[in-house]
């Protein structure tokens, strides 16, 4: 078999089980691809030795029979996940040199299932960003290219998206606080799933905004997302918000039969100034689901407009609290201090040197909205609006809607540096279609559905009922089959 790195999880699993290929062969193909892809800047800490030894062990397990689905699958891991003994710095200078003494629950479950770790993937610093331009490792480049510009892969899981789209790995882990899995998936023509809040353990995943953060798979197909979610999900006593629910066989839910399903089209997502191509893609997706036998209904989610401002109160508030731990005392970077400096100067200099501008900005916004006198005006008000946003969805689901179809992003990938001088709020608008899902704790998936006239991928988002990822994945599967998106970026790197 040639081009082994181009396989997805399902194909690789089936080929390994048949004995057509080994995990060592797949792993070496990916390691070679990573070696040749420095220009993308997706992988930032390579773990080739770990990969080869895990692959050898996986091959033995497959040979013995009865290996789990993810056994022998080479993966990229977002730098936000703590990996024992491996650099884990959340794309930040402040965690330079940090090698955790523990392993995140999700990655432990993946290794227990026999998966192979190729290395750590670039990301926006502390997952704060929508273009992967805030990383201490530098920008990630999108493998899709239509002219001489380098394009963003989106963010914050930009390294994960770029690596999967460029076939440097079979799949990757991502995390999503406001759209950080789904937006980069849409920008790179791959599938990205944010599960229901509480489906996957957050233990050992560096925290950004704890009430919104959720990890999920970034893959080459909906089937792969279903398989990988099965290995990532599950109750964890170490995360008090992880749900005590059995993990169903998500792959078994993929029948492609969505006859009689009610798909809601929310009128509030028809934004002013939305590019015609995005509108067209959305209409095409609606037709595809209708042709597959679904019932299309117009719905209203009246508080949609307030999701972004509510998010940019709640997320920075939680971040300012979570990131208080980076003080130069217990781990990571500590600034050199001057004569006569005390502990406060040490904190202040450490955090000024260690955090990049966007992270500093969000910590300070969070500090402001939580400070005495403003707590009610901003933070409590945002939490009330969040209650209303969640209720919008509950009302729609109570009316019998099974899933909601929306665009994933308001545009295709833009050029790196193009937003450099823009107001920070302009960058936040990238999350306009995705952020509601985090505020309401729902599962959402981005499925590649077409190319724009420049030839760049565009994604559609499906939003499901809480805990019904299986049903959501099945609708996504039907959409994927109807859209027939097979385009790949032409190799230039």
């Amino acid at each position: 078999m040639s081009d082994l790195n181009k396989l997805g999880i399902a194909e690789a699993r089936d080929a390994m089980r048949k004995g057509d290929v080994t995990s060592v062969e797949l792993t070496n193909a990916c390691l070679d691809a990573i070696e040749g892809a420095g220009a993308l800047n997706a992988f930032v800490h390579n773990t080739a030795d770990i990969a080869r030894s895990q692959a050898t062990a996986a091959d033995a397990r497959i040979k013995a029979g009865d290996a789990p689905d993810m056994c022998g699958i080479p993966l990229g891991i977002k730098d936000l996940f703590c990996i024992k003994g491996v650099d884990s710095q959340a794309g930040s200078r402040i965690l330079e040199g940090f090698k955790p003494e523990y392993e995140s629950t999700i990655t432990q479950q993946l290794w227990d299932a026999g998966s192979v770790m190729l290395g750590k993937l670039n990301m926006d610093e502390f997952a704060m960003g929508s273009s992967n331009e805030t990383s201490v490792y530098g920008d990630v480049v999108n493998p899709w290219k239509v002219d001489d510009r380098n394009l963003t892969p989106g963010g914050s899981s930009g390294g994960s998206a770029s690596a999967v789209a460029a076939d440097l790995c079979m799949a990757a882990t991502g995390t999503d606080t406001g759209g950080s899995i789904r937006q980069p998936a849409a920008f790179t023509g791959i599938t990205g799933l944010k599960p229901t809040y509480g489906r996957c353990s957050r233990w050992g995943v560096v925290a950004f905004a704890s009430s919104l953060d959720q990890a999920g798979p970034m893959t080459k197909s909906v089937r792969d997302a279903a398989i990988m979610l099965g290995a990532m999900a599950g109750h964890d006593v170490k995360d008090s918000t992880s749900a005590e629910l059995a993990v169903p066989d998500f792959e078994a839910a993929l029948t492609g039969d969505i006859r009689g399903k009610k798909i809601g089209i929310p009128k509030e997502y028809r934004m002013e100034g939305m590019p015609a191509e995005i509108e067209q893609l959305w209409a095409d997706g609606t037709t595809m689901l209708k042709d597959a036998g679904a019932e299309i209904v117009d719905i209203t989610l009246p508080h949609t407009k307030y999701a972004l401002p509510a998010y940019y109160v709640v997320a920075p508030a939680e971040a300012s609290s979570n990131l208080a731990r980076y003080d130069g005392v217990r781990f990571g970077h500590r600034a050199k201090i001057g004569q006569g400096d005390g502990i406060t100067e040490m904190y202040e200099k450490t955090r000024a040197e260690g955090f990049g501008p966007e992270v500093q900005r969000r910590i300070m916004i969070g500090t402001y909205v939580l400070s005495a006198g403003f707590y009610d005006a901003y933070y409590n008000r945002a939490r009330k609006v969040r209650t209303l946003i969640k209720k919008d969805f509950e009302d729609v689901f109570a009316a019998g809607v099974d899933a909601i179809l929306t665009p994933a992003t308001p545009s295709a990938a833009f050029g790196l540096g193009e937003m450099k001088d823009a107001d920070p709020v302009q960058m936040y608008l990238n999350d306009v279609f995705t952020v509601t899902v985090n505020l309401a704790g729902l599962p959402g998936i981005s499925v590649p559905a077409g190319l724009d006239k420049q030839g760049l991928p565009l994604g559609l988002q499906l939003i499901g009922r809480p805990w019904e990822e299986g049903d959501l994945l099945n609708t996504a599967y039907a959409l994927e089959q109807a859209a027939g998106f097979v385009a790949k970026p032409e190799k230039w790197w």
Binding site: P100, T367, Y368, R381, A440
Partner: protein, 95 residues
């Protein structure tokens, strides 16, 4: 509401982030941009609405108040920028 440079300096102090004096006007402008974006929330009628505490309807579980892990001082200190004799070392805190 809009903030002035003195407020920006106070926020930076509360956040324990050193912001040089000359950068405060730019910081103030950026924060004001974001805050004015948040002001949209004032359009929403939130009378009688409970602020969300948990996105999934669940009660946080309780457990016995007993030690479940620990006695790993070496692992705990391993990543410290300055650790001595089992302690985190910091600049002098009290005179």
């Amino acid at each position: 509401m809009s903030i002035d440079t003195a407020t920006a300096a106070r926020v930076a102090k509360l956040a324990r982030i050193n912001v040089p004096e000359e950068d405060l006007p730019k910081l103030k402008d950026e924060l004001n941009g974001i805050i004015s974006f948040m002001e949209q929330l004032n359009e929403v009628d939130v009378d009688g609405v409970e602020p969300m505490t948990s996105v999934t309807p669940q009660r946080l579980k309780r457990r016995e108040d007993v030690v479940t892990d620990g006695s790993q001082p070496e692992a705990v200190m391993k990543n410290a920028p300055d650790a001595r004799e089992g302690f985190f070392a910091v600049p002098k805190v009290v005179e």
